[in-house]
Amino acid sequence: MENLIGLLVASPLLGAGILLTGGKRLDRVGHWLGTLLALVSFALGVALFANMLGKDADDRGLHSHLFTWVPVGGFRADVGFQLDQLSMTFVLLITGVGTLIHIYSIGYMEHDERRRRFFGYLNLFLAAMLLLVLADNYFLLYAGWEGVGLASYLLIGFWQHKPSAATAAKKAFLVNRVGDIGLSVGIMLMFTTFGSFAFADILPKAQEASTTQHATVTGIGFMLLLAACGKSAQVPLQSWLGDAMEGPTPVSALIHAATMVTAGVYLITRSGAIFNAAPDAQTAVVTVGAVTLLFGAIVGCAKDDIKKALAGSTMSQIGYMIMAAGLGPIGYVFAIMHLVTHGFFKAGLFLGAGSVMHGMNDEVDMRRYGGLRKYMPVTFVTFGLGYLAIIGFPGLSGFFSKDKIIEAAFAKGGTEGWILGCCALLGAAITAFYMTRVMIMTFFGEKRWVPDADGHEPHPHESPSSMTIPMIILAFGSVLAGGLFSINSSFVKWLEPVTGHSEGDSPVSAGTVTAGTMVALVIGVGIAWAMYARRSVPAVAPRGSLLTRAARRDLLQDDFNHVVLVRGGEHLTRSLVYLDHSLVDGVVNGTAASVGGLSGRLRKLQNGYVRSYAVSMLGGSAVLVAATLLMRAV
């Protein structure tokens, strides 16, 4: 069975290799090949899953060492895989949702002449993401971490001819690189502390290390948090996610909703032992999570671009997960559970958004939608189920997972628990508001669409079955997953051997929390209904309040980045270029010029007159003779 783990990664990697180097010959079959290899990977995942279920809960980990990557002195980085319950959960999510999105893309990208390359990139992403979750050491995890960054870069900028897409891709990569500093410094700290990169060497010793090296362990925690912030679009490194929506919609669904952006949650959960030993780092994690869940929700309320509204929502939902992961053993399991259910419903929502755009000539402004439920019934229903799931409608996936996180937040105890719990509740209310807003603006009310710039009137229509089938499957997931996971606490039992679990000590009962979330839900939906369903939606965005305007601009974070980093950086590099030329080079050229100047003066002595040379010769000889005589005399 161990050998299959390698194949799991190799299959999509092979696909990427073939599709990206195969040339035009493969244009006709490329998308099928890519989908097939994703499916193979999924099948392998299911086989491994079945095998794992057959074993005892404590004996489920599989390990496979392929080769030593970098052996230098005490530095040993291996290429080895570790498949335990946590990795397994991710493998199924990645390959499952990944395969569905491959299928969806066959239809969505049908008219794109570079479809083969698109599938190559998608396969590359799958391989890198699987590498990330299967690695048995941090060094290899880093490779996968950067690999998904590359795939994300390539896919966001897939429509490279659009300058906005190219810029967004670059921005995503750069912001992620800032986060990567965290991961690389974290890995270096691990090496200097533990002398290894392997999970097996580091995690069991984390507690012991924190007694003698407390500051270092806390430092590792902070560095991993920085990494997670970059990849999972958490404040303060969240700015790239909204722009990343420039990529094709399947990419947004797969990478920027269901899988890659949750890598930060994986990292924190995987490194749970380190965070458990570093309470300060944990506090930072929950703070980041809580801030982001509100931040993303507020941004999501103000966006008129359907994908950007969903992106704000993704940010906010991942905020929930990060917060849960920061709660320690109370929250790890629920972070992952929410991650999986979110993977279903958010992927479904994005695919739904893609379907809407597909039928609307790629229009993304929700103010130009309206009343689409009549034209796109399948999309409407699947999107609607995703909507109900995300707002936490009782009985659907989101209800179970989000509710548990809110409970866990209260269970943290003390003032901290109250603050986090209230933030989470507030977030739930805002989620209900902005998702209802999206729903109403898109599918209800009167139609508001207008001809596009070329004068084409959109003819909304349902998408082909290659697109609707994945949406239907994901809708089933959105409805059922949460319930299935909660029956008999099966998900908790499944993950507990890896992440550990404790109930915590909640000051409020579970029933009270559920009641609280219901109230929040009703308030959120009610306000949205009052604002968007009772009144007609203006086709041009009103000016809005100060907060709305700020939220439209991502709460001015981009402006801050622009002024401080972009402008500041430009000035810095420009002045450095100037200094390099005038100062560093100036010293050199100055020396050269002064030597030249001096020789210019001296040159005047060479006047070409024989007799003046003769005088100097005579004078020189006289001086020599005199000097000799003088020396003799002394």
């Binding site: 070409g608 024989v610 003769a614």
Partner: protein, 99 residues
């Protein structure tokens, strides 16, 4: 006769030669003055040879004559070719050897 007198004569001849090189413009005259200086040296060498009672000085005097002869050959050729091209034997007119 006091050998010192030969040395005085040598010094005098050398000074006349040096002054001639410095003062006169005509290349031929300058050239003759150079010869005068060389011969003044020869006189000194021979005198010293006599004074010290060995032949070193005389040997060197012969060397000097050979060098002087070679110099005349080259030098006169240069002067003649300069005169041909510039119609002047003035050393001040031939000042092209500068940067």
């Amino acid at each position: 006769m006091n050998p010192a007198n030969y040395l005085y004569l040598s010094a005098l001849l050398f000074t006349i030669g040096a002054a001639g090189v410095l003062i006169r413009r005509n290349a031929i005259v300058v050239f003759m003055c150079v010869e005068l200086m060389l011969n003044a040296c020869n006189l000194a060498f021979v005198t010293f040879s006599r004074l010290h009672g060995n032949l070193d000085g005389q040997v060197i005097a012969f060397f000097t004559m050979v060098v002087a002869a070679a110099e005349v050959v080259v030098g006169l050729a240069i002067i003649v070719s300069i005169f041909r091209s510039r119609h002047s034997a003035s050393v001040d007119d031939a000042n092209l050897m500068k940067l």
